[in-house]
Structures are given as structure tokens and as C-alpha cells.
């Protein structure tokens, strides 16, 4: 315990600045030594200085904490830290009394290890999954007006995407944003690039491409901010990060996941030659269909015309058959038919003779036969 003297002004106790700082510093010194996690920024090391300074930054909301560590201790760790690297710092809070600066006095420093990364990644994955961030999947446009491409500035991934897209669909239009895809600033750089290309006019789909890398290299693709930016992107995003295992979270949140940048390019544009061939086939089918319909209709019309042509003749035949039927019956009943069988009709004047009583010897009669007739005189009657 240090003694902090106050000056008495009547009944008011007033402390000097030094006393106040000393008092606070003393109080802070009683807090325990703990581990704090953050990203190293603004690292300043000067061989003439006793301490090394850096700012520890919270990657999720940007909160900052000044850290000092004895230079000899820092050098002994041989960490070769660079800005943006994630670390665990072991230390306790401290007030630099001369300036009233609050900071952390580090006793030790550890680079965030693979295991830590994996554990952090898994926690983040669980959290985002619980929020449903990975569930929304939008279909890709059949033919995007323009394609946004976010990729490293000299990456083979960029070349693969461009070559494949222009080979498949020569008329394709691209908006390319070259950016960091690796290292401590990659996540924010990719977010900016993603926003930029997705906001460009007529961009209907964005490809985020990187040609693989180590687990650490691909860490930015699992950055929570980038994952959320992909989820919030106004157009569908194709994630094309070549990797063997350890799926980065960008793959999970993207609307479509491609195994390689080349595969992504194949997904975003159709093959113009194949499309053209398909169109030709469709047109041929259409033409055949039209011709077929025409033929069918013509045949139907021909049949109708044949029926039309035949209808009057058919009607005539029926009428003729009916007429012949009537005529047949008429002839069957005809007296002529009877005469033809050998009978004869005998008339006097115009009267038909039905009985010999009507006749007397010498009477003139007219005899009609099946064929012709003759006049005769009655010789006797019976």
C-alpha cells in the first residue's frame, strides 16, 4: 500500500494529479494477471527503448488496448510478429503514472496457435449456423449481365477464372477487383472489394476466388466480418477457394461453392458453343414439330375433302338403291309380269272380260299378251 496524501481545503479533500494517478495505479496493481486475446497493430520496437509498444485490437468491434512489454523479454520470444497477427497476451493492467495512460503490462506473448484458430473457427461456425447465416442459398443467374470477380492481384486463380469465362462465353463482361487475399488485412480488403463489385451496375453475380493455400493462408476467408458481408451481398456469391480440407466459412455462407476457381467460372456462365448447339437442336425440333402439325392438319383436311366429295355420290347411291327397290316391287306386281308368265288379258271395247257370260258368238275381242296382242272373234262360249 502506498500512502496517498490529500490536501485539506476546509472540509474538501483534494488530491494532486500525481497522488491520484498513484492511487489508481496502486488499485490497478491489485488486479490479477490474465490472458487477453486480440490482433497486434501499430507495433513499435526501437533498440533504444526499454519497452516494445503495440496496440491490441479486438477484431470483432475494433476496441483497442495499449500494451507494453520489456524489449528484452519481447526479443527473447523471437516471435517476429507482424501487424494484424492474432495473439494471446499474458499480463495485467497498469497505469503509466507520469501520463495517466492506461495500458497493459505484458509478461508474455503467444502467437495464436493452430489449435486456437481451429477452436475459434468452430465456435464461430456454430454461432453463425445458429443464426441461420449458412442457410440462405440463392440460385445463380442463367446469364449474368456482368460478373464481379474478387481475387488476388497476381493470382493464378484470377487467370483461371478469366480464361475459363471468356472461353466459354466470349461476350461475358467482368468487373474485377484485385485485393489482398492473404494476411492480416485480407478480410477487410476483401469486404471492401466485395462491396465495390457487387455495387457496380449490372453485376448479377460475384466470384470470390483464391487458388488454395495453407490453413493459415485461408483464415481471412473464415473471418466473421467477411462471412457476414457475403451473407449480406445483394447478388449471389460463388466461393471458389481451392483447398484440400478445412473448409473456410466463406464456402459455407456462399450461395454456391465451387471446388476451384475454374469450376466457379464454369458455374457462372454457360458454354456459348453448347448453348448455341442446344438452341439449334431446339429450333430443329420446333421446325419438325411445326411441319408435323402442318402435315397432320393437311391429311385431316384431305380426309374431310374426300368425305365431302363422296357424300353427294353416296346420297345418290342410297336414293338410287331405294328407287331400285321400289321399282323392283313395282315390277313384281306388274300385270305385264303376269302376262309374261303366259297369261292374257281379254277386252271388249275397253272393258276387261272377266266371264264368258259377257261374250256372245261372233263378238270382237282384243287380246293382250306379254309381248304384243291380237284381235279375235269369239267362236263359242262355255
Amino acid at each position: 500500500m502506498v500512502k496517498v496524501e490529500a490536501i485539506q481545503y476546509g472540509d474538501r479533500k483534494v488530491y494532486s494529479v500525481a497522488s491520484f494517478n498513484r492511487g489508481v495505479a496502486d488499485w490497478l496493481s491489485r488486479l490479477p494477471t490474465i490472458w487477453v486475446e486480440g490482433e497486434v497493430t501499430e507495433l513499435r520496437r526501437n533498440p533504444r527503448w526499454q519497452s516494445v509498444f503495440f496496440t491490441l485490437k479486438d477484431p470483432s468491434d475494433g476496441a483497442c488496448l495499449g500494451v507494453t512489454i520489456a524489449r528484452s523479454r519481447f526479443d527473447a520470444l523471437r516471435l517476429d510478429l507482424r501487424d494484424g497477427e492474432r495473439v494471446h497476451v499474458y499480463g495485467r493492467p497498469e497505469l503509466f503514472e507520469a501520463k495517466g495512460d492506461f495500458r497493459m503490462r505484458a509478461l508474455s506473448l503467444e502467437r495464436f496457435g493452430l489449435g486456437d484458430h481451429l477452436a475459434a473457427l468452430e465456435r464461430l461456425k456454430q454461432k453463425l449456423a445458429a443464426e441461420g447465416v449458412f442457410e440462405r442459398k440463392r440460385p445463380l443467374p442463367f446469364l449474368p449481365r456482368r460478373i464481379g470477380l474478387v481475387t488476388g492481384n497476381d493470382a493464378a486463380a484470377k487467370r483461371d477464372v478469366l480464361t475459363t469465362i471468356t472461353t466459354r462465353f466470349p461476350a461475358a463482361q467482368l468487373v474485377v477487383a484485385e485485393t489482398y487475399v492473404q494476411g492480416p488485412f485480407a478480410a477487410t480488403a476483401m469486404i471492401d472489394a466485395l462491396r465495390e463489385v457487387s455495387a457496380a451496375p449490372d453485376v448479377d453475380v460475384v466470384v470470390l476466388a483464391r487458388g488454395g493455400g495453407s490453413f493459415e493462408d485461408l483464415l481471412p476467408f473464415s473471418d466473421e466480418r467477411l462471412v457476414r458481408a457475403i451473407a449480406a451481398c445483394p447478388v449471389p456469391v460463388v466461393s471458389a477457394v481451392g483447398h484440400e480440407q478445412d473448409t473456410p466459412l466463406s464456402d459455407l455462407v456462399a450461395d454456391v461453392r465451387a471446388s476451384t476457381p475454374t469450376a466457379a467460372a464454369r458455374l457462372v456462365v454457360p458454354d456459348a458453343a453448347e448453348l448455341s448447339a442446344r438452341l439449334d437442336r431446339a429450333r430443329a425440333t420446333l421446325a419438325r414439330g411445326a411441319a408435323g402439325t402442318l402435315d397432320r392438319e393437311r391429311r385431316r383436311l384431305d380426309v374431310a375433302r374426300d368425305h365431302l366429295r363422296r357424300a353427294p355420290l353416296l346420297m345418290l347411291e342410297r336414293k338410287r338403291a331405294a328407287l331400285e327397290h321400289s321399282a323392283g316391287r313395282l315390277r313384281a306386281l306388274s300385270p305385264k309380269a303376269t302376262l309374261e308368265r303366259g297369261y292374257a288379258i281379254v277386252r271388249t271395247e275397253a272393258e276387261i272380260v272377266r266371264s264368258s257370260d259377257e261374250l256372245a258368238r261372233g263378238a270382237r275381242v282384243d287380246v293382250e299378251l306379254g309381248a304384243g296382242g291380237f284381235g279375235a272373234t269369239v267362236e263359242d262360249t262355255r
Partner: protein, 67 residues
Amino acid sequence: MSEATFEKAQRELETIVQRLESGDASLDEAITLWERGEELYRVCSEKLDAAHGRIEELARRVEAVKP
């Protein structure tokens, strides 16, 4: 006679046939009916022939303008 339609002539012919079939016509009447029937048959037959000819003529004309 020639003014009568085919249908009218045929109906008359049919009436005559039925009258003859009934058997109650006198011989003179039967002969008159028969002669009338034969005449009607001739008229009807001529009308059918004429109609047939016209239909075939029409069909030939249609066939001739066919592309």
C-alpha cells in the same frame, strides 16, 4: 311431270307400289298405276343420273383448280 321434284316423284312411286301390293286395285287400275309407276321410275332415274353427272362435273372442276 318433269316439274315434280325427285322426292315428290319417289313418294308417289312408293304410294303406287303400296297400293299395288295391297292387292285391292282392279286390274285396269293396276295397269294404270303400273304405267304411272314406270313413268315415275323413269323420271326419278333420270334425275339421279343428272345429279350424278353434275357432281362428277363439279369434282372435275375442283380437281382442275387444285394447285
